[in-house]
């Protein structure tokens, strides 16, 4: 029997977040410049497995992805059973900075997708000195709700089925079937109300339209990459953000959708590797 282990190592980290004990699951692979990866709403760190398995990335980067509380293998905090989960900008920012400190990351590159791309804009605005570069995937300044979010969390609609079905069209048309359905499976596995609670940040609390133009790319370089087929954060919305931030670098990725790193890693890496090269070159 032939067995192959991937180079990814996963651990549980116990730490206080928002004044409460939390147990977070963290995966990493590679050595070098830390590259902290933030997953999309309603999913988890598995979205970055392809990056952690690609030697072109891991030869030069320590790639890290953690599951946010309530997501993946990270538990919700004690008492969750009587609470409604709602992610806020303040919590999300605190979470990223606390995890960075806990892992001893010195000015990592942070790369986030969707809600992760949105918080990347918040971090670029408020904490640029903490990062050597910021990469926003599918990063818009705001998205108005375009369907009734209550359908994501009600007992007469199966949460896993509806979350997977809601986002299925956000996968680009060229995604390999295996990667398309792996991406959707992560959505189907989310806990009740978690995707909806993330979207509170994405569609309500995390609106950064009025401040996004204040991002200063001289303090921290900002790269924006968006999939052509994303109708949640459309290429037009990303370009509007880019236009309002002098010095930002924006690229539309042909044929890709809302989950570039997991729906079609091979094509995504063709766009990401040159960005990482430029970040490395700027430091040398």
């Amino acid at each position: 029997m032939s067995v192959q282990f991937e180079p990814i190592v996963g651990r549980y980290m116990n730490l206080d977040l928002f004044g409460r004990p939390h147990r977070l699951y963290v995966e990493e692979a590679g050595e070098g410049t830390p590259l902290l990866c933030l997953h999309t709403a309603g999913s988890d760190g598995r979205q970055y497995r392809a990056l952690m398995n690609d030697a072109r990335i891991t030869a030069r980067h320590r790639v890290i992805a953690f599951d946010m509380p309530w997501h993946g293998k990270s538990s919700p905090p004690e008492g969750w059973h009587d609470e409604e989960y709602q992610l806020t900008s303040a919590q999300y920012t605190d979470m990223v900075l606390t995890v960075m400190s806990a892992l001893g990351l010195d000015r990592p590159i942070v790369m986030g997708c969707s809600i992760g791309g949105r918080i990347a804009l918040h971090l670029a605005l408020e904490h640029p000195e903490r990062f050597r570069a910021i990469i926003g995937l599918q990063a818009g300044a705001h998205v108005d709700p375009y369907y009734d979010l209550n359908f994501l969390h009600r007992p007469d609609v199966h949460g896993g089925e509806v979350c997977g079905a809601i986002v299925s069209g956000l996968v680009g048309p060229d995604a390999p079937q295996k990667d398309r359905w792996e991406t959707l499976w992560h959505y189907m596995q989310g806990g009740p109300g978690v995707f909806k609670g993330d979207l509170y940040f994405y569609k309500i609390d995390g609106d950064i339209r009025s401040r996004v133009g204040q991002i200063d790319t001289r303090r921290c370089p900002l790269f924006l990459l968006s999939g052509e087929y994303d109708y949640s954060c459309t290429p037009e919305e990303m370009m509007a953000v880019a236009k309002s931030i002098p010095g930002s670098d924006a690229t539309i990725m042909k044929g890709l959708g809302h989950f570039p790193m997991s729906e079609n890693p091979k094509v995504f890496l063709e766009y990401l590797l040159p960005v990482l090269d430029r970040i490395a070159a700027a430091r040398s």
């Binding site: 375009y146 369907y147 009734d148 359908f151 007469d156 609609v157 199966h158 089925e161 509806v162 997977g164 079905a165 809601i166 299925s168 069209g169 956000l170 996968v171 048309p173 398309r180 052509e228 087929y229 994303d230 109708y231 949640s232 459309t234 290429p235």
Partner: protein, 123 residues
């Protein structure tokens, strides 16, 4: 527009199986044309073409002819590749009791995508 729907959906055993708890009638409107689609246990039992005097359905999906034409292309352009993409652009109106639509969203997406020239096109 929906002439092939019954045959194509019912020929897909996986789709019919996923719809086994779905029994409903919904209306599809394209410009001035409309159809009532009846489903029983995941199988499409009837696709009736209007005009109707008093159409009765759980919910309706209404868009212009041009929008449906783009949706049914073998490779729809961005913004036309999915029912939710049309809803996001406010060119598809989903009206009525949407609980059944949302509870079986994958079924409805995949059933309508069956009408694309490439069999089993991704929803």
């Amino acid at each position: 527009m929906l002439e092939q729907l019954k045959e194509r959906v019912n020929a897909d055993a996986g789709l019919v199986r996923r719809g086994r708890y779905l029994t409903t009638t919904f209306l599809v409107q394209s410009g001035d044309n409309s159809w009532l689609v009846s489903i029983h246990g995941g199988r499409i039992t009837q696709v009736a073409r209007g005009p109707f005097v008093m159409p009765s359905s759980a919910f309706a999906l209404r868009a212009s002819e041009m929008e449906w034409e783009k949706f049914f292309l073998p490779r729809p352009p961005p913004g036309s590749n999915d029912l939710m993409a049309l809803i996001r652009r406010k060119v598809l109106k989903a009206e009525g009791d949407l609980q059944v639509f949302m509870a079986h969203l994958r079924y409805f997406k995949e059933a309508l995508a069956k009408l694309r020239p490439v069999a089993g096109g991704a929803a």
